[in-house]
């Protein structure tokens, strides 16, 4: 699936929930389902700076695709990074670098996160793009 297709899927998933408490319930489920990060990747270097809770992100290249794995100590942060991993993992570096991730706005995620969390979201996306850039020519 392309990034756009993944995004469409998520927008559809979220559209069935009426209020934000339900949407959070869904994000929390995603967080709970996120596979745990391998202990060797749960290092200080892999912590994303700029999030209020601790979020670890690891990336590697398999073939021409970037594979992301992540974890967080807060469940909502975990759910959000799970959404991003779902959309951006298993894509080419070029596709990751070029996407604008419109689904974030579409599902209203940005405005529903407190500024500090929203910064966390911005920091997560930035870190994923930086990984894509680093892995582009490797």
């Amino acid at each position: 699936m392309t990034i756009e297709e993944k995004e469409k899927e998520l927008i559809a998933d979220f559209s069935i929930y009426e209020d934000w408490m339900e949407k959070y319930e869904y994000i929390i489920e995603l967080g709970k389902d996120l596979p745990i990060l391998k202990p060797e990747h749960k290092t200080k270097e892999n912590i994303i700076v700029g999030c209020q809770s601790q979020v670890w992100l690891f990336a590697e290249k398999k073939g021409d695709k970037v594979i992301f794995t992540a974890e967080a100590d807060a469940i909502i942060a975990k759910g959000i990074i799970a959404l991003l991993v779902d959309v951006l993992s298993n894509q080419t570096p070029e596709a990751i670098l070029n996407t604008e991730l419109n689904f974030i706005k579409e599902i209203g995620l940005q405005e529903h996160l407190s500024p500090t969390r929203s910064n966390g979201l911005v920091a997560m996306v930035k870190q994923m793009k930086l990984y894509a850039l680093a892995l582009k020519n490797s």
């Binding site: 209020d19 408490m21 209020q52 807060a74």
Partner: protein
């Protein structure tokens, strides 16, 4: 006198706001309090009818604004029972006041002199002293805390010596709500000849303080935590102590004469008020104190203590909930965690339900390190909070826990 919470509440327009479909339940008063209409009106009135620079012009408006500003100073002087109004220096807030003392008092310190703070301090009462450690080679000693969040008074006594020059201590811990028995600390510090600075940032919104009875040498607080505007606060200092200090910042208003060879300084309070101050802030802070003067502060305290008691009881019924700071003498602040749940998750879900609390380390990382926790969820009440706010909190919290577990 007594206290009518519904009547007081109606004076705060922001409390009628909705967060999404939920009515606002504002429980973050430790961070800042809301403002009554009369304070908001004072701000508007200043720019509509009084705006001019103070202490400078002979024209009418300059005299009006100067008089309003100086009247505010006197209102505040009376409210804290300072001997003179020039003992009340307008600052930007608590942080600014502490930095002023660190700078000016610090000038007179020498290598090996000692400053004592406590384990409960806000970062604002830690970092300015660390500057002095670096610059001057003074030693910073820390009064240790105990499991219940109170300070170890005997350990404090053991830290005191002829080398102690200053004790800078918070009256109330913003993170835990513990009230320190500062009278005892002030008395003991004075016995070894040390001066005492009280961080009263969290105190004045809850009860009255009499600086003469306390006998502290300096006291600082922020206007925004006592129903006034942001960007203004007070440094109180005994006249003799303030006169003994060199000025902080140089500029207009703080000088008597300026030549390129030598400048002489103005008298108190102007010596410490360089540049055009936050005039509207000072005036509106005076209004906030006038407003507060009309309240029966004993009844307010009783009301807040009741909220503290019923909330503590209701919280402790929640499975796995632990309150940090359970020493008996507390202001209406509760810091807690729930087993296995991250404070940010709870804060986010409370926010979704209109309940405003603070999560994190509350600018007191040493306290969090002491308990080996990343942060807490902090509920802090003010006089306009009601039992219905407590019910909303508990309902919203139970819902959040159910979603997260």
């Amino acid at each position: 006198m007594s206290f009518d919470v519904a009547a007081v509440r109606s004076e705060f327009p922001i409390l009628k706001e909705k967060i999404g479909k939920y009515p606002l339940v504002y429980l973050d008063n430790g961070a800042t309090t809301q403002k009554p209409q009369i304070v908001i009106d004072a701000i508007c009135n200043y720019y509509t009818h009084q705006n001019a620079n103070i202490h400078r012009g002979v024209h009418h408006l300059s005299q009006v604004s100067t008089e309003a500003y100086e009247t505010a100073r006197t209102t505040i002087q009376k409210a804290i029972n300072a001997t003179h109004n020039h003992e009340c220096i307008f600052t930007k807030g608590t942080t600014d006041g502490i930095n002023l003392i660190a700078h000016s008092f610090g000038k007179g310190l020498e290598k090996g002199d000692e400053i004592i703070i406590s384990a409960l301090e806000h970062h604002s009462n830690i970092v300015p002293w660390q500057f002095l450690v670096e610059e001057k080679g003074v030693l910073l000693k820390v009064i240790p805390m105990l499991q219940d969040g109170s300070l170890d008074f005997d350990a404090f006594l053991a830290l005191l010596s002829a080398k102690t020059k200053l004790l800078s201590i918070t009256h109330i811990s913003n993170a835990l709500g513990i009230i320190n028995p500062i009278e005892k600390y002030i008395e003991a510090a004075h016995k070894v000849g040390a001066k005492v600075l009280i961080d009263a940032a969290q105190s004045l919104q809850h009860f009255a303080i009499d600086v003469q009875a306390l006998d502290c040498d300096f006291m600082v607080f922020s206007g925004h935590k006592i129903f006034g505007p942001t960007g203004v606060g007070i440094l109180y200092g005994k006249e003799v102590e303030l006169n003994a200090l060199p000025p902080y910042q140089g500029g207009g208003d703080m000088i008597k004469t300026v030549t390129f060879e030598k400048t002489t300084y103005n008298e108190l309070p102007h010596k410490f008020e360089a540049g055009t101050p936050n005039i509207v802030g000072g005036i509106a802070l005076g209004t906030a104190f006038e407003w507060r003067n009309k309240l029966d502060l004993k009844a307010v305290e009783a009301h807040e203590n009741e909220l503290l008691a019923i909330t503590t009881e209701a919280l402790l019924k929640i499975d796995g909930l632990k309150i940090y700071g359970d020493a008996p003498n507390k202001s209406s602040v509760i810091s807690f965690l729930i087993d296995g749940l991250h404070p940010y998750d709870i804060g986010t879900l409370l926010n979704q339900q209109g309940v405003a609390v603070r999560t994190g380390h509350h600018c007191t990382q040493p306290i969090m390190d002491y308990y080996h926790i990343p942060g807490t969820i902090r509920v802090s009440f003010s006089l306009y909070n009601t039992k219905s706010d407590v019910e909303s909190l508990i309902t919203a919290l139970k819902k959040a826990v159910k979603m997260l577990k």
